[in-house]
C-alpha cells in the first residue's frame, strides 16, 4: 500500500464559522447565502435535514420549504478566511506534507504514522475543534480519491466520530460497493449514466474495470481514477501552491444597472480590487478581460453577454493604468438598452512585478508609481478597505452587494469584536 494520505474537511465550514461566535446558532438550521444574498452556499446539518438544497436560489427555497426557523447569514469571507488560515496552521503541525486544497479542505501526507493513524487523526480533530471551534472530518487512504471516499464516511457515519481509515483491500472494496458512482471525486451525473450503460453500476465495479479499456473508451482522467481506486496514487501531494494564473473580481449587482456611468463605477471598483490582489502577490498583469451580462434567469428581458479582452501596453500593477484599461474595455462592450446583472474583471498574463520588461514606447511602472501603490495599499490595510481609492470607483456605489444578514468580522476588526 502507498503511504497514507489524509483528507481533512471542515464540516459545513461557513455555517460552523458563524456558530463559533454565535453559540445561539448551535443545533439550529443555518444557511449561508452567496454574494449578494443569492444562493444557498452552506447549510448546517439541520438545514440539510429540512431539505434545503445546495446552490438553490434563496428566494425560491423560501417558497418551497418552511424556512421560518432557519437562520440566514450573508457570506462573511473575512471571517471564514481567517478561521481557515487558523485551521491550516494547526494542520501544518500534524504533518510535514500539507496541501491546502480549498478554503475548508487539505490533504496531509501521513507517511510514518502508519502504526497510529487513528490516534493521530483523533488528536488532530480534537486540536482543531478546541483551538478554533471548527469541527472537521478526517478520511485516510492510500490515494486522494480513496481519502475522499473515506472522508465522506467519516462525515456521514456517526459511529466513526469523524475519523475513517481505508487502508486495506477488503475495507476499500466494502466501502466502494456501498456508495454511488456520483459519490466519487470527479464523477458527475452524466458520466455515471454512461458508465451504467456499460454495466458499471457502482464504484467497486468501476475499480475492477480494466483501466486501459476506460482510457480508450473515455479518457486518461478516468483511467487514473480507477488506478486511484486500486490504491495506486496518480495525484501527488502539492505542497507549494502553483502560481496564480489569473485574478478575477466579479460581482452581481444588488439591482440591475443600465447606465454607462454606474457600470463604469462598478467595473472600476472591480479593477481596483483586482489590482490590489495583484500587488499583494507582487505580480503585474499583461492582459485584462472585462465582461458583463444581463440576468440570464429573466428570459423575458433582452439578453446580452459581452467579453472584451484588453492587452496592456506593458505589464502593470498600477491601479491607474488598470483603470484606464478597464474603462477602455467597458467602452467597447457597453450597449445601451440592456439591464445588466453582473460584471467583472479578470487579470491575465501575470508575471513577477520585478521582472517586467519595458517596451519600446511604454515604460514599466515607475518607482513613483510603485511607491504610490504601496502607500495606497498600506493605508487601506491599516485603516480599512477604501480609505483611499480612485474616484473612478465612485463613492455611493448604489449597486453594491446586498449583504442583509452579515455577521461581524470578529477576528479581523477591532470595532467588531465579540462583546462579552
Amino acid at each position: 500500500m502507498a503511504p497514507p494520505i489524509a483528507l481533512v474537511d471542515c464540516n459545513n465550514f461557513y455555517a460552523s464559522c458563524e456558530r463559533v461566535f454565535q453559540p445561539a446558532l448551535r443545533g439550529k438550521p443555518v444557511v449561508v447565502l452567496s454574494n449578494n444574498d443569492g444562493c444557498v452556499i452552506a447549510r448546517s446539518n439541520e438545514a440539510k435535514a429540512l431539505g434545503i438544497d445546495m446552490g438553490e436560489p434563496w428566494h425560491i427555497c423560501r417558497k418551497r420549504v418552511d424556512t421560518g426557523g432557519v437562520i440566514v447569514r450573508s457570506s462573511n469571507y473575512t471571517l471564514y478566511g481567517d478561521l481557515s488560515a487558523r485551521v491550516m496552521q494547526i494542520l501544518a503541525g500534524f504533518t510535514p506534507d500539507l496541501e491546502i486544497y480549498s478554503i475548508d479542505e487539505a490533504f496531509l501526507g501521513f507517511a510514518g504514522f502508519e502504526d497510529r493513524l487513528v490516534p493521530h487523526a483523533r488528536e488532530l480533530r480534537r486540536t482543531v475543534l478546541q483551538w478554533t471551534g471548527i469541527p472537521v472530518s478526517v478520511g485516510i487512504a492510500p490515494t486522494k480519491t480513496l481519502a475522499k471516499v473515506a472522508n465522506r464516511r467519516a462525515k456521514k457515519d456517526p459511529a466513526c466520530a469523524g475519523v475513517f481509515v481505508l487502508q486495506n483491500e477488503a475495507a476499500i472494496d466494502a466501502e466502494l460497493s456501498a456508495i454511488e458512482l456520483t459519490d466519487l471525486w470527479g464523477v458527475a451525473r452524466r458520466l455515471a449514466a454512461r458508465l451504467r450503460d456499460l454495466g458499471i453500476a457502482n464504484p467497486l465495479m468501476l475499480k475492477r474495470t480494466d483501466p486501459r479499456f476506460l482510457r480508450e473508451r473515455f479518457n486518461v482522467v478516468l483511467e487514473r481514477l480507477v488506478l486511484e481506486l486500486r490504491g495506486i496514487p496518480c495525484m501527488v501531494l502539492e505542497d507549494t501552491p502553483p502560481q496564480r494564473k489569473s485574478i478575477m473580481v466579479s460581482r452581481s449587482f444588488s439591482r440591475m444597472l443600465d447606465t454607462r456611468h454606474e457600470l463604469k463605477e462598478a467595473v472600476a471598483t472591480f479593477a481596483a480590487r483586482a489590482a490590489e490582489k495583484l500587488r499583494s502577490q507582487k505580480l503585474a498583469a499583461g492582459r485584462m478581460i472585462v465582461f458583463l451580462h444581463t440576468n440570464r434567469f429573466r428570459p423575458q428581458d433582452a439578453q446580452y453577454d459581452g467579453v472584451q479582452p484588453v492587452t496592456l501596453p506593458v505589464a502593470t500593477a498600477d491601479t491607474g493604468r488598470l483603470l484606464a484599461a478597464a474603462e477602455h474595455g467597458l467602452a467597447a462592450l457597453y450597449r445601451p438598452g440592456f439591464r445588466y446583472k453582473k460584471a467583472g474583471v479578470i487579470l491575465l498574463d501575470l508575471a513577477a512585478a520585478e521582472a517586467v520588461q519595458r517596451e519600446l514606447f511604454d515604460a514599466a511602472d515607475s518607482p513613483a508609481s510603485r511607491a504610490r501603490m504601496r502607500a495606497v495599499d498600506a493605508l487601506n490595510r491599516r485603516f480599512g478597505r477604501d480609505t483611499v481609492c480612485y474616484a473612478a470607483s465612485g463613492v455611493r456605489r448604489a449597486w453594491k452587494l446586498r449583504m442583509g444578514y452579515l455577521s461581524p468580522r470578529y477576528t479581523t476588526s477591532w470595532e467588531e469584536l465579540l462583546r462579552v
Binding site: Q130, W131, P367, L417, R419
Partner: protein, 183 residues
C-alpha cells in the same frame, strides 16, 4: 507698459560677481531667484524633491561588514524590536480577542471596554479566568472546581457566584490570558 528688462534686478546682469548661464528646471531657477531676493518661502525647498528618483534600493539598517571605519560596537548586541504579539499571544492559531462589556470582574482588573485576549488552546485550571458559555450566553468568570462540581466566581460584590449544576449547559470557550486597556 513697462518693459520687463528695464526693471532692476530682473533681466540685467548683476554687477560685481562673475555669472554663468545655466539651464535649470523652472522651479529650481525660481527658487534660486527668490533665495537671492530674500523672499524664499518655506515650501520652496520642495522644488528639489519634485524630481522623480532614478531608481530605488534598500539599505540594510546596520551592516557590520563595512570596509572602513570602526564597526559598530552595538553589532554583537542587536535584538529585534519589542513585539507586542509575542508578549500577548502564545498560540496565534488559537488566540482571539473579545471586548468586555460586563463589570462583574472589576476586582480582577477587567473593566468594560477592555480587550481580553482569549487562548482556546489553554486547558482551564483552578483559579484562572475563563470566557465560558452558560446556557448559550457568554460570561467571564473565575474558574473554581469544587469537588465534582464547579463554581464560577464573579469579582464584584454585586454579582453572585454561580454554581454549575449538571443540568446546565456549560462549556469553557477559552481561557483569558491577558487584558488590554486603552487609557
Amino acid at each position: 507698459m513697462q518693459g520687463y528688462t528695464s526693471r532692476k534686478g530682473i533681466g540685467g546682469r548683476p554687477r560685481g560677481e562673475p555669472t554663468a548661464v545655466l539651464r535649470l528646471p523652472l522651479p529650481v531657477a525660481n527658487l534660486a531667484r527668490r533665495l537671492r531676493e530674500g523672499t524664499l518661502r518655506a515650501g520652496d525647498i520642495n522644488a528639489f524633491l519634485d524630481v522623480e528618483a532614478a531608481g530605488e534600493g534598500s539599505v540594510p539598517l546596520i551592516d557590520g561588514t563595512a570596509a572602513c571605519g570602526f564597526p559598530s560596537p552595538a553589532d554583537d548586541y542587536l535584538d529585534s524590536p519589542l513585539d507586542f504579539n509575542e508578549l500577548l499571544i502564545r498560540n496565534p492559531a488559537a488566540t482571539f480577542a473579545v471586548r468586555l462589556s460586563s463589570d462583574s470582574m472589576t476586582g480582577a482588573g477587567l473593566f468594560p471596554g477592555d480587550i481580553a485576549v482569549v487562548d482556546r488552546s489553554v486547558t482551564p485550571t483552578a483559579g484562572c479566568i475563563v470566557l465560558a458559555l452558560l446556557d448559550g450566553e457568554f460570561t467571564v468568570k473565575r474558574y473554581r472546581p469544587r469537588g465534582n462540581g464547579l463554581v464560577l466566581e464573579a469579582e464584584n460584590a454585586s454579582f453572585p457566584d454561580i454554581e454549575i449544576s449538571a443540568e446546565r449547559a456549560f462549556e469553557v470557550w477559552g481561557v483569558i490570558t491577558k487584558s488590554i486597556r486603552m487609557l
